[in-house]
């Protein structure tokens, strides 16, 4: 069976890293010229745009990204909220607040608790929720998800999920139940680094995670979310591998929508210090390069980033944002239980404030951009 794993096997982390480092000004100029001619770039051009050689051209790359985003998506930004179902987790991930080795209270929402969360978010205007959980298949597995989905769908027109990798058959069941998008970040495409950060649990299986998007594609889930956790390894090489993943998927599953997220590591319980620094400027370069690489991909920015930076990132290429997020189960209906949260959010402005910030930037906040009828 065809899978990204086969493409990935032909790519070498170290060699890719060297190629990025050895890009020259003329490679970047060629990539920019090619981006002006076409709405999509090849991998070689993307490699040039994320290289250090592209840094002097950042203004030009950002301008192109901004114009292309507006032309394709219009003057609008989609808003959604994450809803944490559970902070139970059997994995050890050295950077995560839900990691099994972190001693903390654990909670999984029951139907009543979930209803309260959904009601609280609906009253704030949200029509699109992202259900999030740790990986604890016994308590929080497919049967639990299938019980949760109808509760959410009653009041929401769009439902996305960010949970542990599942089987193709399980994804078919989620799709049938009304899940339109599934996000599974590879965290890092640096296989050696991945092993260090994920020493225990099912998540330690790099290859299974890498082929998750293929299982989603075959299960005909309508939208697949990709991402790399910035800060674990060299961001440029991870960006290249991520783009390569997107490139493979958009050709193989051409009817599927894609999103790319840019989660940067935040302080979490356990005091993990990100080993690879990713500057604000690097984040900008990566977002803009992805927009030039693919005019139609949805680029997502979460509340991990501070308000001042988010405001600056909004116009340059981002198309979807979370607002007023809580990263602990039950956090919307009963705020204040910080002991349960995955990481501290940085932009804690409430949704109406985010909406006014967008309006002031000349962007129309869109709460609903999907209809349950598409999932019927």
């Amino acid at each position: 069976m065809k899978s990204f794993g086969q493409v990935f096997a032909r790519r070498d982390w170290g060699e890719t890293r060297n190629r990025i480092a050895s890009q020259r000004t003329r490679d970047v100029e060629r990539a920019l010229a090619s981006s002006r001619r076409s709405d999509t770039l090849d991998m070689g051009a993307f490699l040039a745009l994320i290289s250090p050689a592209a840094e002097p051209f950042l203004g030009e790359i950002v301008n192109e990204s901004r114009a292309r985003t507006r032309r394709r998506f219009g003057n609008v930004i989609q808003l959604y909220a994450p809803l944490y179902l559970s902070n139970e987790c059997r994995n050890i991930c050295t950077y995560c607040g839900f990691s099994a080795d972190v001693r903390r209270p654990r909670l999984t929402l029951d139907e009543a608790g979930l209803t309260k969360e959904v009601d609280a978010l609906a009253s704030e205007g949200f029509a699109h929720l992202l259900l999030v959980s740790g990986e604890a298949p016994r308590e929080v597995g497919i049967d639990y998800f299938l019980r949760c989905i109808p509760v959410v769908r009653q009041r929401m027109s769009q439902l996305s999920m960010e949970v542990q990798p599942l089987s193709e058959e399980e994804y078919v069941r989620l799709g049938d139940a009304g899940v339109s998008a599934v996000l599974v970040y590879q965290e890092s495409y640096d296989e050696a680094g991945y092993a260090r950060f994920h020493p225990k649990g099912k998540k330690a299986d790099f290859a299974y995670r890498l082929d998750t998007a293929d299982r989603l594609g075959r299960a005909e889930i309508k939208k697949i979310g990709l991402g790399a956790l910035l800060g674990l390894s060299d961001w440029r090489t991870d960006a290249f591998m991520l783009a390569s993943h997107l490139d493979y998927l958009r050709t193989t599953y051409w009817r599927t929508h894609y999103s790319v997220s840019f989660p940067r590591l935040r302080p979490a319980e356990g005091g993990f210090a990100p080993p690879a620094r990713v500057s604000d400027k690097a984040l900008v370069q990566m977002i803009a390069a992805f927009r030039l690489f693919d005019a139609s991909v949805d680029l997502v920015l979460s509340t991990r980033e501070p308000a001042s930076l988010r405001d600056r990132l909004i116009p340059i290429g981002v198309t979807t944002m979370s607002a007023g997020s809580k990263t602990e189960p039950g956090g919307y209906a009963s705020p204040g239980s910080d002991a349960l949260q995955q990481f501290e959010i940085s932009d804690d402005r409430p949704p109406p404030e985010i909406a006014s910030v967008l309006r002031r930037a000349g962007l129309n906040p869109v709460w609903k951009d999907w209809d349950a009828v598409f999932d019927a």
């Binding site: 709405d39 999509t40 507006r70 032309r71 394709r72 998506f73 219009g74 003057n75 609008v76 029509a127 027109s157 309508k222 958009r250 051409w254 009817r255 599927t256 929508h257 894609y258 693919d294 005019a295 139609s296 309006r359 000349g362 962007l363 129309n364 869109v366 709460w367 609903k368 951009d369 999907w370 209809d371 009828v373 598409f374 019927a376």
Partner: protein, 264 residues
């Protein structure tokens, strides 16, 4: 000055030949002002953006389009096949109380190109269910005839991919479509400047639909007015009868009279 011929689709008559899409405006207010300036009588709205509430409360997007003489036509943007399109059309008929539907089935998410097979299938089903179907389609003359055969009220072939602002890239195919269509031809997608819209009208299109070029303009209200003028002037030129096109110079005082009456 002669009055331009009105446009009739699905039993309704329109003076304006500019349709406006509403997807990309910076605010509802900017959208309302642009629609008013465009003088459009048909605006399309994505069903996926409309909140349908059980208590009859009107969605703010629709409220912003409650303008005199403006018909709101829902589109099915977001569906991937005929089955989903039919469901979406039925829902929009209930929610928006209209049997008009702009059929959009573009499963290719990168270029938003319409799926001809699913579009034909959905048009046939929806027409049988009593909808006034306006299918967005490829600039394929045969497909347009097939859509007409199964009951499309108009056809909406693309000038270029949605949002590309590239103008009449499919011109030669559009000319064939216009020449042989038995239903109105509304050229949709890719018209990036008023001159493109004027050229589409000169070519004989019955109307054009514009969204991106207006919504994303620096001043969308002014751009909407510019498109309105271009569409009017293109149509007027078409009705007036444009001259033929040649590669050599042609004298403005014809010499035909000089040869008439000569011995054969």
């Amino acid at each position: 000055m002669s009055v331009m011929r009105p446009l009739t689709i699905g039993g309704r008559t329109f003076r304006s030949r500019l349709f406006v899409g509403t997807g990309k405006f910076a605010s509802h207010d900017a959208m309302s002002r642009a629609v008013a300036a465009s003088e459009a009588e048909v605006v399309t709205v994505a069903l996926k953006r409309v909140r349908v509430s059980a208590d009859g409360e009107v969605d703010s997007l629709l409220r912003a389009l409650e303008l005199p003489g403006v018909a709101v036509v829902p589109n099915t943007s977001g569906v991937r096949d005929a089955r989903e399109a039919v469901l979406a059309a039925q829902l929009s008929r209930e929610a928006l109380e209209t049997n008009w539907v702009k059929l959009e089935i573009h499963p290719d998410v990168r270029h938003l190109l319409p799926d001809p097979v699913e579009t034909l299938r959905a048009t046939e089903i929806l027409a049988r269910l009593g909808f006034v179907v306006l299918p967005y389609c490829s600039a394929d003359p045969i497909l347009c005839k097939r859509l007409e055969d199964v009951g499309a009220a108009a056809v909406m072939p693309l000038a270029a991919p949605i949002g590309s602002n590239r103008g009449l890239e499919t011109r030669s195919m559009l000319e064939l479509i216009v020449a042989q269509s038995g239903v109105p031809v509304v050229i949709d997608a890719g018209l990036g400047a008023p001159s493109h819209a004027a050229a589409a009208m000169e070519l004989g299109a019955d109307a054009v639909l514009v969204n991106t070029a207006i919504a994303v303009a620096g001043d969308s209200e002014a751009m909407a007015a510019a498109f309105a003028e271009a569409v009017r002037s293109g149509r007027r030129a078409y009705e007036a009868g444009l001259g033929g096109v040649g590669v050599t110079g042609v004298a403005t005082s014809p010499t035909d009279g000089l040869v008439a009456g000569l011995e054969e």
